[in-house]
Symmetry: C2
């Protein structure tokens, strides 16, 4: 029994279909980059210093109220597959998972808050909220950050604010982001126009798994580019304002699909369902795309209410490679995963649709 197994069967709290505008905004995330005073940045840390920082954080989180029920997971004590699993659940980053030192992560039991230790910065704290709720995410994380700051001294100067390994994070160290489901804009071929407009507003657009990943399944992560020279509340307010407009565009596209092109899109959505209920092998990329269409179908009312959106959200996680292998209880090669994925999807969809 591994330290991460307990997360397998229950859906992450922040993936609950709830919160404001949850038909378009899947989740809201805020992260803070922090470094301790008296230590160099990660690149220059000796192995002994890495260990010191990891143990310092293990002790520190114990005293943080929000981490009363939590795990402190040291990477050198878990399997490679378990790191992949944490990555798929968005609890850690791809870069962090690949490190070879004393990296660790503190995770609350509800998976709403995690703190990566020895990522690009000494600490990367993050919190998720379901739906469109950046303010609540910021409120929660700001409290966590204050609790930690009571116990440890951060690298900070009055002129620059919080110091970070990469200059793009200096100042607030804050990145706020929302994961948006935009099948309407993709299928009506308006997405490029929207993304081009956003690129002029200092916003970054990424895929399901953050930096360096492609948008799959019509999921897009929008985040601020600027961390310096603006108070945190203003950064969040700006992002909120832009996302509100994207949501508006997506809703218009969905209305167009429902009212003007019903038969065409209904066909596309039902075919996705037919494929998922029939395939004997399916890649995670294809499955994510098809599940996205079914999610859209449920939102548009094309597919009966019997489709439980919550079940779909859970499926998005369960079909990822590490989740599949942990469910199977063994290592699977690529072909075996494609077969296991198809079989899992057929089984779970048969419970909720038709």
């Amino acid at each position: 029994m591994s330290q991460v197994d307990k997360y397998l069967e229950k859906p992450a709290e922040w993936l609950r279909v709830s919160g404001p505008l949850s038909d378009v905004v899947i989740s809201s995330r805020v992260r803070l980059a922090r470094n301790f005073a008296g230590y160099p940045f990660l690149e220059k840390l000796t192995s002994r210093q890495q260990k010191e920082i990891a143990e310092l954080m293990a002790a520190t989180v114990k005293a943080v109220q929000q981490f009363k029920d939590s795990e402190y997971i040291r990477y050198n004590e878990i399997a490679e597959l378990d790191r992949q699993f944490l990555l798929e659940r968005h609890l850690i980053s791809r870069e962090h998972a690949a490190e070879k030192g004393y990296q660790s992560v503190a995770v609350t039991d509800d998976e709403m808050i995690s703190i990566m230790v020895l990522e690009e910065d000494h600490l990367r704290q993050q919190t998720f909220q379901p739906g469109f709720n950046l303010r609540e995410a910021w409120r929660v994380l700001n409290q966590v950050d204050s609790e930690i700051e009571k116990q440890a001294e951060y690298a900070f100067t009055p002129e620059l604010g919080y110091l970070t390994a990469c200059p793009t994070n200096v100042g607030t160290g804050l990145r706020a982001s929302c994961m948006l489901h935009l099948p309407g804009l993709v299928l009506t071929k308006q997405i490029q126009k929207v993304l081009q407009a956003l690129s002029k507003l200092n916003l970054a657009v990424r895929g399901l798994y953050g930096e360096g990943t492609q948008a799959t399944g019509n999921f897009f992560q929008f985040s601020n580019q600027i961390t310096l020279g603006q108070p945190e509340e203003e950064i969040i307010e700006n992002l909120e304002c832009v996302i509100q407009q994207v949501v508006e565009h997506e809703k218009n596209a969905r209305q167009f699909m429902r009212e003007e092109k019903k038969l065409r899109f209904e066909d596309q959505i039902w075919r996705a369902l037919g494929t998922l209920k029939s395939a004997r092998m399916i890649s995670s990329q294809e499955a994510t795309g098809q599940l996205s269409l079914i999610m859209l179908g449920a939102e548009l009312g094309f597919i009966g209410k019997a489709v439980v959106l919550q079940e779909l959200n859970t499926l998005f996680l369960l079909i990822q490679p590490a989740h599949l292998q942990k469910t199977a209880g063994k290592v699977l090669d690529s072909t075996e995963r494609d077969a296991a994925r198809a079989s899992l999807i057929r089984e779970r969809l048969s419970k909720v649709i038709m």
Copy 2:
């Protein structure tokens, strides 16, 4: 109620899944080109002569034993849609359906024999048999031809044999063909190699609807090119021999799919079923291709025995444009047909599969 309506609901006898090698050879067909002595070929016929020939045949078939239960259908008395319907049932040719004169066709009630009047030649007699059975087709048609010859004089010379409008038909006037279902060779990418080898043997390969049509749904019509200088039995024997070899290749391909690449092809076949059971719009070309895969799936044992092959064979006809419109009882535009086709397929498949 139109003269052709009675054919709509019952499946054509020759489409019964029976006869030798019916898992690969759908049907066998023989046709004879004949012209009456004392008349020029079609191009030079006056309107009055056309009418004379049409009425001559109407009277002649009445005395032919095999046409005791039959219809004599004059094109100027039926709707455009009904001609299209007869074409889809392979009872007449595309060229014949498009003519503007006194064209007509005699059709037996079981649809096994038809005689087109005023096609490229004055008469084009044809008979179908289910499965691989060219000899029986030839035996039946030879009898019909003799019965007609008792009542009318054909254009014939001892040196050339039967005279025809196009020199490629002179001699026996015979074309024998088989409709083969070759999904194994197509999916394992061996079909081009096989077709190339056949082109050296004076064989013609065509699509579902004969001359000038593309192979769709993995159906291929193989026929002899030569009509002169060989007795009828020899022409048929040669064609039989080649088709026997193609059948052998197809069966090997299917065995390979079943034994070596089960998961991959099973996936492909189940996806076809998922699409057909889900689509809300589908073209006849796509539907034919997907139905072909399901037929293969039933043959390979991937899809349960509950799939009734007979039902699939009927569906191939019912999804054609004129069949759809006659079933609906009204003219449908292309989008309406795609929707009606998808709906018909869902309904009929739900009765036989899962």
